[in-house]
Subunit: 219 residues, 2 copies
Amino acid sequence: MSLTYAPRMKEQNYKLDAVETIPPGKKKIIDALKALLEKKEFDTITTAEIAQTAGVSEALIYKYFKDKRDLLYVVLRDYLDEYLARFESDLKGIEGHLNRIRRLIWMHIHVYASNRVMAKILSLVVRGLPDFYASETYDWIVTVYARRVLNVIEEGIRSGEIRSDVPPKFIRQVLLGSLEHICLREVIFDKEIDPDELTENLCKLLFRGIENRDNPQAT
Amino acid sequence: MSLTYAPRMKEQNYKLDAVETIPPGKKKIIDALKALLEKKEFDTITTAEIAQTAGVSEALIYKYFKDKRDLLYVVLRDYLDEYLARFESDLKGIEGHLNRIRRLIWMHIHVYASNRVMAKILSLVVRGLPDFYASETYDWIVTVYARRVLNVIEEGIRSGEIRSDVPPKFIRQVLLGSLEHICLREVIFDKEIDPDELTENLCKLLFRGIENRDNPQAT
DNA sequence: TAGAATTAATTAGTAACATTCACTCACGGT
DNA sequence: ACCGTGAGTGAATGTTACTAATTAATTCTA
């Protein structure tokens, strides 16, 4: 959940429970948007609807959030926090750097397959909202998630399992771009996603490339 | 330009010039939006602004276009037609199927580099508009452009230069996803794009994969 | 060439919706 | 008893996409 920001308790653990308590109205609003997003597109959801679903007044939304979009970014951040927890625990104890990448790919796809709301927000909605790129949530994605993916790649390079003649950041871009795009149609049209099959194919391509090594007339 | 749809002239070429003549107001509106998109985001542009720039009334927009978004899709389609023409002529006479893919990659990146308006519409705006996927423009992208890319891949497979154990459509997804994502940050933040450098790196990865072939302890 | 018919364009709204403003209520501390 | 603060609300407002009714211009045909 983590609706509060990093605790960062100074000195002793001082009134641990009340470090930053969340007002009931705020939580109700967040949950209301989450619920509505299960059934409707973000921009067909009105602030009136959110308020009604939450059982609060419309104006309260603007007490806790800069605007309707800001609320969306908080909801997204919430989902992302939840994902990262699983991410880290799932990556633990995987041996071999290519195996770690395979695992990362599978998890990324699996999250898109199982949390369609989050997948849609990320792939479809937020991308076209210019102020997203000034939000805390975007910052988190760049400084936490994208950096983590980069680490996995860099470790692979250091180990010698991954080639070192392409910049790790470039590899990351290709990886993340492929991941998003292979799920895109399914996310848009609400089709089933098969993480195992997609992972299998993406690893084939990403690890070994499209070139046919058995080609008699080699390049 | 092709503001008219496919001519498809039946019988003889019958009044060739006037097959479907475009009203001046319609063209003015399209050009107005194009001009405005050079300076502003799509959803900060109002219909009033478009009409004013075009020198027509606001209501005229709705004579020629279903709504504001529909107008955008027509503008996009216009840019795409222009691109495809260059695409086909540039691809002509390239020998070797991997070379053709390299050329395709370079052209795609180059268009993103040189037509930022189109790149933004495609990567950022249109994606989040649900009715885009019911538009003629989306249909065109799928049935013309995406199919053309698929052809290039399939020819490569048939020739033996490209591996055949990954579905060609999957290869296309990875290719298009990578292309979009390696330009994404630059498109969002209006940074320079270097087609040569990006093409070089993407081909390295896509053709040969990330695996280090010189790795002593091979997998 | 008159005038019917069709196409181009405009004027003047309207309804929806995000956002804001000024205000009330509850309550913990002194 | 009262001040300060945080939670919450009701009612208004301005913006904006979109529409209905109408007029102007152009093309077609007798």
